[in-house]
């Protein structure tokens, strides 16, 4: 169940968003990908989940090359992502959002939808129970029937997590799940990530909040200008001189 990127490069015209990046995400871990803004973190996520084609290099999962697959197929393989900017089904309720996320857990196709209503009813009941379970898991039980676009920002981010979890990830790729949150909201997201991992889901995390990252990660990868400059456990990465230079030496402020 290892996710492996080998020699990934993405170029936009003359700009290299990623150049020759290789790494592996071990099953059962929380692995974080950090780096200054524009370092290529989201690009790496886009390439892994099929939203962007790499100029060069391969991504494989469990030894199976998935480079060039379309996003829905990669999701069906168990690699599910969230987005940096809040991304929901805005006009639907919390429950409908999660039910939509459960798409891969259903089997009914057009023929069954039109002709086998009993099967549809059974599936709807089963999916409904699963949806309620996921909603309770992220703590949105009281908001079930509310429209997604009416939720508070923090609740919207939790709902994003719920939608992704509904898709049944084996590897969950979270793109800045705690950005813009208050300190207490961040703490609950960290606790939630720990619970997700405890369920056997591998977590791959892009995040700017260093306290959150260092607190929950088993491994930390550091990108700077599209290159991987460090790869190790949180303590050693924090001491790495090149990492310190990337965050502080260029005159930019550290995000923490």
């Amino acid at each position: 169940m290892t996710l492996e990127a080998r020699d990934l490069s993405v170029r936009f015209g003359g700009v290299a968003a990623l150049s020759g990046v290789s790494f592996a995400v071990a099953p059962g871990t929380v692995t974080s990908l950090i780096g200054p803004n524009g370092a290529g973190k989201t690009t790496a996520f886009n390439v892994i989940t099929g939203f962007q084609q790499p100029t060069q290099g391969t991504v494989s999962h469990d030894g199976q090359a998935i480079t060039g697959w379309r996003p829905h197929r990669i999701a069906a393989r168990g690699l599910v992502r969230t987005f940096q900017k809040t991304s929901l089904f805005p006009g639907l309720t919390v429950r409908e959002n999660v039910l939509t996320g459960l798409h891969l857990r259903g089997r009914v196709g057009v023929a069954a939808a039109l002709l086998a209503r009993a099967r549809v009813r059974d599936e709807e009941r089963r999916l409904g129970e699963e949806a309620d379970g996921v909603i309770d898991f992220v703590g949105l039980g009281a908001r079930r029937r509310e429209a997604a676009n009416g939720l508070s920002y923090g609740d919207q981010r939790l709902l994003e997590l719920a939608v992704a979890l509904a898709a049944g990830p084996r590897i969950l790729l979270l793109d800045e799940p705690a950005s813009g949150m208050t300190t207490s909201e961040k703490a609950s997201v960290a606790a939630l990530i720990a619970r997700i991992r405890a369920q056997g889901v591998t977590v791959f995390l892009v995040e700017h909040d260093m306290r959150l990252v260092m607190g929950i990660s088993d491994r930390v990868l550091v990108l700077n200008y599209g290159r991987l400059i460090a790869d190790g456990d949180p303590a050693s990465v924090q001491r790495d001189p090149e990492v310190i230079r990337a965050y502080l030496g260029s005159g930019a402020h550290a995000h923490a």
Binding site: P71, H72, V80, G91, A112, A113, R117, E123, A164, A166
Partner: protein
């Protein structure tokens, strides 16, 4: 309250030929039914997947020509003609959906408009096949012929009314079945956020193709019924006005709801006729326009969602 309303509407619809004695009024109701099928069909795309087809009259027209040509030129049974009127436009819808691939929004609109333009030109210019602007007269009426019984013709207005009513019921149940399953949720996911949909494993292209094919098949059925009702097919079936009328019905009735297109179809077929009876022709279209603007101004989501909101508040 809402159940009572629906039951009353069904009762009225089921008994209409018994008390609508004016044939012209019955004709209006039949047209309302044909438009209800069309509006339900357009709603599948516009209301659920969020993609606007401005070439929907093409599927209606292909349906009309499919059964018209098969029954007039080859003298096949009208029922096989009707089947072809579903399958042929359905196949065209499938192709449009495949071609659309990643085209969404304005580009999807352009694709459907161009398609309708092409088909319309074919109907006018392929004289050998379609008779061009002269059209195909003599499309036979529908007939129920059971072995051992005399054939029962559905050429009268009251008989045809029930054929159309059955078609509306069928189209409605089809939409209902799709919408209340994970297939329907996948369609709505395309409308709401296709990127997120892909990230949870929903194949957008697959579901758009599906919606386009089914929507086109339903529009084709309406076209087939129209051909057997008017007994005549001409390039007039491809008129852009038909598409515009469908869009008005779906949007004003309530897109993305099941009842909206039906309510919209009845409202906007009966309204022009009522205005015709109440005023002179100069005022008819003007008043129609004013009323349409008023509906959209006061009920921007459409009549059905507005009524629902009004009841719950």
């Amino acid at each position: 309250m809402s159940r009572l309303l629906v039951a009353a509407a069904l009762l009225v619809a089921a008994t209409a030929p018994a008390w609508v004695w004016n044939p012209y009024h019955l004709h209006t109701l039949i047209m309302a039914g044909i438009f209800a099928v069309l509006a339900l069909s357009l709603n599948l795309l516009l209301g659920y997947t969020g993609q606007l087809s401005l070439g929907h009259a093409a599927f209606f027209g292909i349906g009309a020509y499919a059964t018209g040509l098969l029954t007039v030129k080859l003298e096949w049974s009208p029922w096989i003609g009707l089947l072809a009127a579903v399958l042929l436009p359905g196949a065209a819808g499938f192709v449009i959906g495949r071609l659309a691939l990643k085209l969404r929004g304005a580009y999807f609109v352009l694709l459907t408009i161009s398609f309708a333009g092409c088909v319309s030109l074919v109907s006018v210019n392929w004289m050998d096949l379609t008779n061009g602007p002269l059209g195909l007269p003599g499309v036979p009426p529908l007939e129920i012929a059971l072995p051992g019984l005399p054939a029962f013709s559905l050429r009268t207005k009251s008989a045809f009314y029930y054929v159309v009513l059955a078609a509306v019921g069928l189209a409605y149940l089809l939409c209902l079945g799709l919408i209340r399953s994970r297939v329907g949720r996948a369609l709505v996911a395309l409308r709401e956020n296709e990127t997120l949909a892909a990230s949870v494993g929903i194949d957008g292209t697959h579901y758009l193709v599906l919606a386009a094919a089914m929507s086109a098949g339903m529009a084709g059925l309406a076209g087939g019924l129209y051909a057997h009702y008017t007994r005549f097919v001409s390039p007039e079936v491809f008129l852009f006005t038909y598409t515009v009328t469908m869009v008005i019905m779906v949007v004003a009735g309530g897109k993305g709801t099941l009842a909206g297109p039906v309510v919209g179809a009845v409202l906007f077929t009966v309204l022009p006729e009522a205005l015709r009876a109440a005023t002179s022709w100069q005022w008819q279209m003007l008043l129609y326009g004013v009323l349409l603007v008023a509906v959209l101004f006061f009920m921007p989501e459409g009549v059905v969602p507005a009524l629902r909101r009004w009841r719950t508040s």
